[in-house]
């Protein structure tokens, strides 16, 4: 029984019977409410239990721990993502990550969909074959491991080569949004990298268009399937080695048509937005935690594979590839944000507030020009980006 005593007494005293005991799920002894004015104790991380806890050691010894949750609006959401490199200490990476929007504008200008509705209500039940080598958590989430090819291969003098095969831990779910089935996945590698990605499959919409906006599919010339974009936004609340001291930096390399290239670092002290560049990348760095080499630990975001869709005036949220905002719990989606306290879209979250707890919003676009091979069921097309450790360990963790 975990009901606060005062309220319980009130309930009993006023004779409000019929309240199921199991409904009373307040703070228990292990996480009692702090006395008024006392600082709140930080809960242990990850703050969940089976079947919501994923705790997996990959074959090389790297370990990932995290919680998953199927939220009504955002669907699959991962929290308290912690990484233990081989031979190293556990370090926090993400406090939370989920999809923040799938914006689907068609090339003729209309229609234009914002596909995040109540994703939690439209998760697709996974069959055993949909989760190969893994374990389904409930009906909708798969947790599995799979090979990722060579982790490294180095030839040696008068010795066999030094090589190893790498592995990923993958956590994913599928959602049916209209014609499309979206596979929403995060892969956690044994070298500390994270790959968030979304695969679109299911069926094409079947929207026809003038030939300038599509591609002839099916027999002959009768049907022109309209081209469209999937502009996918992820929300990533990084808490590198804890919530404090996180800073976002952007790296550029000057020199075009010159022999020299020079590294230029820009530190975002205020909320910011940025566009991709071929060699540009960002990192979230903890300014206090250092690896054994004395270097600051960080995770790098590399988003170079986006089609970089840029929409009209009323879709300004499409006009940057990365947004960095100060953490606010009510800023959840990149468009049609569902909470009254905050602005409606990610471009308006960014308004020069000082950054002390940065949240990153990554926008990756894919432009889909249909082909005959897309006839039902449509083959999966993937889009995503990479998050890689930079100086988390002092050498290759293996």
């Amino acid at each position: 029984m975990r009901f606060p005593l005062t309220l319980l007494s009130l309930v009993l005293a006023t004779g409000l019977a019929g309240v199921p005991v199991t409904a009373a799920t307040g703070a228990g002894p292990a996480r009692a409410l702090p006395a008024s004015g006392a600082p709140a104790p930080a809960p242990a991380r990850p703050a969940c239990r089976a079947p919501y806890l994923v705790d997996h050691k990959l074959p090389n010894g790297a370990r990932w721990r995290l919680c998953w949750e199927m939220r009504t609006i955002e669907g699959l959401t991962l929290t308290d993502v912690l990484y233990t490199p081989v031979g190293g200490r556990e370090v926090g990476v993400l406090r939370s990550t989920a999809l923040a929007q799938i914006h689907v504008p068609y090339d003729s200008g209309e229609p234009r969909f914002h596909d995040i509705g109540t994703l939690g209500e439209i998760a697709v039940a996974l069959q055993a074959a949909d989760c190969p080598g893994g374990e389904r958590r409930g009906q909708y989430v798969c947790v599995t491991t799979r090979p990722r090819g060579h982790a490294y291969l180095k030839s040696r003098f008068e010795e066999p080569s030094l090589s190893a095969q790498g592995h990923d831990l993958a956590v994913y779910a599928a959602f049916q949004v209209g014609w499309y089935t979206y596979l929403v996945e995060w892969a956690f590698s044994d070298d500390g990298a994270i790959t968030p990605r979304v695969g679109a499959t299911g069926s094409l919409s079947g929207f026809t268009s003038a030939s300038g906006h599509g591609w002839q599919t099916g027999r002959g010339t009768a049907h022109v399937e309209q081209s469209h974009s999937h502009n996918i936004f992820w929300r990533l609340d990084f808490d590198v080695d804890g919530k404090k001291d996180d800073v976002v930096e952007q790296y550029d390399f000057t020199g075009s048509g010159t022999a020299k290239r020079t590294l230029v670092r820009t530190r975002f002290t205020k909320e910011a937005k940025a566009v991709n560049g071929r060699t540009r990348w960002w990192r979230v760095v903890d300014t206090r935690s250092r690896n054994a080499d004395g270097h600051r630990i960080s995770w790098e975001i590399n988003n170079s594979a986006s089609a970089q869709y840029r929409g009209p005036e009323d879709e300004k949220f499409t006009r940057a590839d990365l947004y960095v905002s100060q953490y606010r719990s009510c800023e959840r989606l990149a468009t049609n944000n569902p909470t009254p306290d905050c602005a409606m879209s990610v471009d308006r979250y960014v308004n020069a507030e000082r950054l002390t707890d940065p949240v990153l919003w990554v926008n990756v676009g894919y432009h889909h020009v249909a082909r005959d091979e897309d006839a039902d069921p449509m083959p999966v097309h993937w889009q995503g980006f990479r998050i890689t450790p930079r100086d988390v360990t002092a050498k290759n963790p293996r």
Binding site: D80, N336, D341
Partner: protein, 224 residues
């Protein structure tokens, strides 16, 4: 983005709420409800069916009369994931006030059994609930022209007459207002949705140029 948050002191509301009937029954919580294991949930676990029901109950306590007339509707309950309250078990109840065309989000502290914060605004567009989705389909079927078209398509695909909206594969999405003609301008303040309708043969009806205005109970033709 810095905006204020209204914290309300609703002393006693939680206890009063317990007296009411359950608005949502455990087991009807959609896939997000925790199906755990024995014992109470951990802080980071999804809400259990019981917690969702109780949060809905507590959040709705002061809105009973208006809910019974359908002017106010509980859309859904999400686990509150505010980092600043990570040591507490909290839920956010999304409530739509059709009378004022306003979204209300009430944060319920499940430990204290009361509403601890409320925010509300017009023009906010949370995704449609299941009940709204069904109502949008009923409105569409009640429209003479669209109703006839859907019934004919259903009969052709299924080989039998459509009995009700629940025979259709439905998916509602929030309508994002753009310049889609004079009628659709109402959606900047009204609760409007797009509706995807799937037939038993797996095909989809073309509903791209339709929005359903639930506030005005009207079907809107989108123009472009």
């Amino acid at each position: 983005m810095r905006r204020g948050r209204t914290v309300m002191a609703l002393a006693g509301a939680g206890a009063l709420a317990l007296a009411g009937s359950l608005l949502l029954t455990a087991g009807d919580q959609g896939p997000q409800a925790a199906r755990s294991s024995l014992g109470p949930p951990a802080l980071g676990d999804p809400l259990t069916g019981d917690e969702i029901a109780r949060a809905g109950e507590i959040a709705s306590a002061t809105l009973r009369t208006r809910m019974s007339t359908g002017r106010v509707e509980l859309l859904y309950v999400e686990r509150d994931d505010d980092k600043a309250a990570a040591h507490l078990r909290r839920a956010d109840a999304y409530i739509y006030d059709y009378g004022a065309d306003r979204l209300i989000v009430r944060t319920v502290d499940l430990g204290q059994g009361k509403v601890v914060a409320e925010s509300a605004d017009r023009g906010v567009r949370p995704p449609p609930s299941r009940a709204e989705e069904a109502r949008a389909a009923e409105l569409l079927l009640a429209d003479p022209e669209h109703g006839r078209r859907i019934r004919a398509a259903y009969a052709a695909a299924a080989g039998r007459a459509l009995r009700s909206a629940s025979d259709l594969g439905l998916r509602a999405m929030i309508y994002t207002p753009r310049r889609h003609g004079a009628a659709a301008e109402a959606c900047r303040t009204h609760r409007c949705m797009r509706l995807f309708v799937r037939l038993p043969d797996g095909s989809w009806l073309d509903t791209t140029r339709i929005a359903v205005d639930l506030s005005a109970k009207k079907i809107l033709a989108l123009e472009w």
